[in-house]
């Protein structure tokens, strides 16, 4: 009985042993095999036989006729063929070959390392903003519920009864199992508001919050119903993990202590009952949580009952705005960043292509070595293994570099992004994102490290040795190299084009005619109406005092030196109920359908403060506002619709259950977002502000800082016990409104900026390589009379062929990407002439800069020397 593998084994023996011996040794082996088969079974005997043949052949090869000691040593030599020893051998070999070219190795490691680090940073940000699961139990069942619109509609349709019915159904429906109210900011019992101008962000929640979000305190306990009944000074709070770490050094002894938070909280005292978990910063980066009572129908977050879908809830209460918590906490415009995710993928690709080119150059330099090794019998698998080991070593180095650099890169990118987008999210690289970016890049590196083998395989060892380079391989290698370069340039062009489109959108959004002079306008949010006091008389008195102060505020501001005018009214770009939200119905006699409008009560000076231009009619003064007649201003958008009914000025319309007479028309004013069309707006005129905002226009020559200080002092005087310290510049708010455009422009610009040096290195490397391969040809050309300028032109021409090819393909890709991201573009079309010109110019300039050196070096080639050496 012969084993099936016997012929191969015998061939092996014949190769290693002298022919005279081979037959008898083979016979002995077969005899022993037969015995073993009977003793141990066929399978084990075959294993034994294979091992035996291998060791005998190896012993003969290494120790033939050298005596037993050598034979014994050669047995150890056989042992090195075990996988682990082989790996160590490959590892040492790879290390040696990498050390032989330290500069090249460093460039490769740095390229891959920084690409991985950059991608880790970008992935971490996208991951944090978009994908990282929310740190709450069953977070997908938590929804945010916006009730205002539904309540307003119910009220409008059937008065208080309709509203109460809606509240009842919301509070008792089995569709929702847990409900809580979450507010940003913090209202004190006397109406003072903890504000957000310092780095502390308070949140006011109901005790159900901690259950609904399933919060496990890091220290202490969560707030509960009992805390509601406790005295309000000191107020019981939970503090955020970051605050705990930064101000209290993670001291668990803080629990049960009374702390003082000067500044933001007017020196109020707080009793810390617990510390929040590290990753909970809800809502909106909160760091301080207090509880207060819940009124019926005031909840705005709830948990869906088991098996209930969000669509069922939406269908049940049509007017309700129901969003998943994920959508609600995802920053405005963050989805847009998804486009950027694709761009980071492109960045990775650029780095790969770059590395492929470098590794290719390495392989080219080693052609002779490879030829020799092939000639003396190195197998293809052997060489592939070595290339793979080198690739893995490079990858490990790069990953190490990335681990060190990634956190710094991430925080750098985060600081470049608008805080509106990044606040409240843990944007730090973690193992997940590092692994993701690393695996993507490193898999690519490994594959590309093996690419040279393909070329080596197709060429003969002799050709490799003789040519000392890949010229022996023919045109294939050169074409591959050129293709890699063109691909890289194409990706770079695509990214530059996308960055250009985003920058253009940002610019266009910033240039939108706002319809008013935002510069020099400041806004202050007034404390809202609160019911304070135990009896109705006390409450009435408190409210009267509040009304009095509202009226005094503009007067006090007008007295501040540097303030030209002050008025009550809407503060543009500050979140408000009616703006951009579909609006209130405005009914017009003679028109069946009500017009949905934005609504804002203002005082007469608002027109002056905002610098609104009256185009029709007039802006009434204070003296014209009587008891009987309600006057209003409308914007051009609304006037256009009203003019279908009759002359606009003097028309009587009904809005917010009031009859008003239109006194004038003002230009359209951007109040919400510059990139959205202006909604129809009606502004009713009031003698004095009633809550809301007070705005002031500063004189053009007024020094900003001292005027703002004076304004704060004036506010302190009017509101001694609860001053609102947040004085907002409208121009800042306008900037903030287009923060997502800025974010995209910055990020894409950054990615583009990262690609440019890679492109530079790619072009320079390719040209240097091409020149070094053609020294002889250039020498002959020069010997035949070519001027150095001709040579230079030839080298530059090569670069520009690659650049033009890259530009054509890349810009086409850019336009395609532009179409995909068209909803994030504003004021530029996906195919934009200026952006094309700009991207092309940048790339051509880069190519030119990259070619100078190789071109000059080529032109300096000494013909005689080149011919002698070539």
């Amino acid at each position: 009985v012969k084993p099936w593998l016997w012929p191969a084994l015998e061939r092996r023996l014949r190769r290693a042993l002298p022919p005279v011996r081979a037959a008898s040794v083979a016979g002995d082996l077969l005899e022993d095999f037969d015995r073993r088969c009977r003793r141990d079974g066929r399978l084990r005997a075959e294993w034994w036989l294979r091992r035996e043949v291998r060791s005998t052949a190896a012993a003969y090869r290494a120790g033939e006729r050298r005596g037993p000691r050598h034979a014994a040593r050669s047995r150890r030599g056989v042992a090195t063929a075990s996988p682990l020893d082989g790996l160590m051998f490959d590892f040492r070999l790879a290390l040696r070959s990498l050390r032989r070219q330290p500069a090249l190795t460093a460039v490769i490691v740095a390229t891959v390392g920084s690409a991985v680090a950059a991608n880790t940073a970008l992935f971490s940000i996208f991951d944090g903003l978009l994908f990282r699961p929310l740190p709450y139990r069953d977070a997908e069942r938590i929804v945010r519920i916006g009730t205002r619109q539904a309540f307003a509609e119910a009220q409008l349709a059937s008065g208080a009864a309709g509203r109460n019915a809606l509240i009842d159904s919301l509070e008792t429906s089995p569709l929702l199992v847990e409900r809580t109210r979450v507010l940003q900011g913090l209202l004190f019992e006397d109406g003072a508001q903890g504000v957000a101008d310092l780095d502390l962000r308070p949140a006011d929640v109901t005790p159900a919050f901690f259950e609904l979000f399933d919060i496990e305190p890091t220290a202490g306990r969560v707030l509960s119903d009992e805390d509601l009944a406790m005295p309000v000074d000191p107020r019981r709070v939970m503090i955020g993990y970051d605050l705990w770490q930064a101000r209290f050094g993670r001291d668990t002894g803080i629990v049960g202590r009374t702390i003082n938070l000067p500044g933001a909280m007017f020196g109020r005292r707080f009793l810390v009952v617990g510390v929040m978990p590290r990753d909970v910063r809800f809502p909106d980066g909160a760091e301080l949580w207090v509880v207060s009572d819940e009124r019926p129908g005031s909840f705005n977050h709830a948990r869906l009952a088991e098996g209930v879908t969000i669509d069922q809830v939406r269908g049940f209460w049509p007017g309700l705005e129901v969003t998943t918590l994920r959508e609600a906490t995802r920053p405005e415009g963050a989805y847009a960043l998804g486009v950027l995710l694709a761009s980071t993928g492109l960045l990775l690709l650029v780095a790969w292509v770059q590395v492929a080119a470098l590794l290719f150059a390495r392989a080219a330099g080693r052609a002779r070595e490879l030829g020799v090794r092939l000639a003396i019998g190195a197998g293809r698998r052997r060489l592939i293994r070595q290339f793979a080991t080198e690739g893995a070593l490079v990858a490990a180095g790069a990953l190490g570099l990335a681990v060190m650099v990634a956190p710094a890169v991430t925080s750098a990118v985060v600081t470049l992004l608008p805080p509106e987008i990044t606040r409240g999210h843990g944007l730090q690289p973690d193992g997940r994102t590092l692994l993701f970016a690393g695996a993507l890049s490193l898999a690519g590196v490994l594959v590309l490290a093996l690419a040279p083998i393909e070329i080596v395989r197709r060429s003969s060892p002799l050709g490799l040795m003789r040519a000392g380079g890949f010229s022996g391989v023919g045109q294939g290698a050169a074409r591959l190299r050129f293709g890699l370069l063109a691909a890289q340039l194409a990706i770079t062009a695509t990214l530059l084009y996308m960055a250009g489109l985003s920058a253009g959108s940002f610019r266009a959004a910033g240039l939108v005619e706002l319809g008013f002079a935002a510069e020099g306008v400041v806004g202050i949010q007034l404390p809202p109406t609160t019911l304070v006091g135990s009896t109705s008389v006390e409450r009435r008195a408190h409210l009267d005092r509040q009304v009095q102060r509202w009226a005094e505020t503009p007067v006090a501001l007008r007295a501040v030196p540097g303030v030209e005018a002050a008025a009550g009214g809407r503060l543009p770009f500050h979140s408000s109920v009616y703006f951009g939200g579909g609006g209130l119905p405005l009914s017009v006699p003679g028109r069946d359908e009500p017009i949905p409008v934005d609504y804002a009560p203002i005082t007469p000076d608002y027109v002056r403060v905002m610098g609104l231009r009256v185009t029709e009619g007039r802006a009434p003064g204070h003296d014209e506002l009587g008891d009987g007649v309600q006057l209003a201003l409308v914007n051009t958008s609304l006037a256009r619709q009203l003019s279908a009914v009759g002359p606009v000025v003097g028309q009587r319309v009904t809005v917010n259950r009031r009859d008003v007479t239109i006194a004038g028309v003002v230009d359209d004013v951007v109040m919400a977002r510059p990139d959205r069309p202006v909604a129809p707006l009606v502004m009713t005129l009031l003698q004095n502000p009633q809550g809301g905002y007070v705005l002031a226009r500063l004189a053009p020559d007024a020094p900003l800082a001292s005027t703002l200080d004076a304004i704060r002092t004036a506010l302190d005087r009017v509101w001694p016990d609860n001053p609102s310290r947040e004085v907002m510049l409208v121009s800042d708010l306008a900037d903030r409104a287009i923060a997502d455009y800025r974010a995209r422009a910055v990020l894409l610009g950054l990615i583009g900026a990262l690609c440019l040096p890679l492109a530079l290195a790619g072009i320079a490397g390719a040209l240097s390589y091409a020149t070094s391969q053609r020294v002889r040809e250039i020498g002959i050309r020069m010997a035949l009379g070519a001027a150095p300028a001709d040579i230079r032109r030839r080298v530059l021409g090569r670069a520009f062929t690659a650049v033009s090819l890259g530009l054509v393909v890349g810009l086409a890709g850019g336009m395609l990407m532009g179409r995909l991201m068209s909803s994030y573009l504003f004021g530029v079309r996906p195919i934009d002439g200026w952006t094309i010109v700009g991207a092309a110019a940048v790339l051509i300039l880069t190519a030119w800069a990259a070619s100078i050196l190789p071109a000059r070096r080529a032109a300096r080639i000494e013909p005689a020397q080149a011919l002698r050496e070539g």
Partner: protein, 118 residues
């Protein structure tokens, strides 16, 4: 490559072991060929011996003239592959005696230290 050392030079340890193994097999009246010699060494030495080392040593001893070999047909399982049967030559016997004699002389008197060697 012919060996430079003369046949009178002391043998290496493994060479002596192989020669003794051949003698043992012959003593039992069996045919001394590669496998049986190796089995003999392994069963007496108690540890595995590389097949290659045995063959190389046999070749070497034959080159030195201490062993002689002839081809003989083996059992059918070998499929026509001859057995190489070894015999110890007179020089071989002399060499073994010399080596063992040297060892025995060196060893005598050390029994209290070395103890029982078998």
């Amino acid at each position: 490559m012919p060996d430079s050392r003369s046949s009178s030079s002391p043998l290496g340890e493994f060479e002596v072991v192989v020669l003794l193994a051949v003698l043992h097999v012959l003593e039992r009246g069996e045919a001394a060929y590669g496998s049986s010699i190796r089995d003999e060494i392994e069963s007496r030495g108690g540890r595995p011996v590389a097949r290659g080392a045995v063959y190389i040593t046999l070749d070497r001893l034959e080159d030195k003239g201490l062993l002689s070999s002839r081809q003989a047909p083996g059992p059918p399982v070998r499929g026509n592959r001859p057995r190489r049967i070894f015999k110890v030559t007179a020089a071989g016997m002399r060499g073994v005696r010399q080596s063992l004699g040297l060892v025995a002389r060196m060893q005598s008197g050390l029994e209290p230290i070395l103890g029982d060697l078998s």
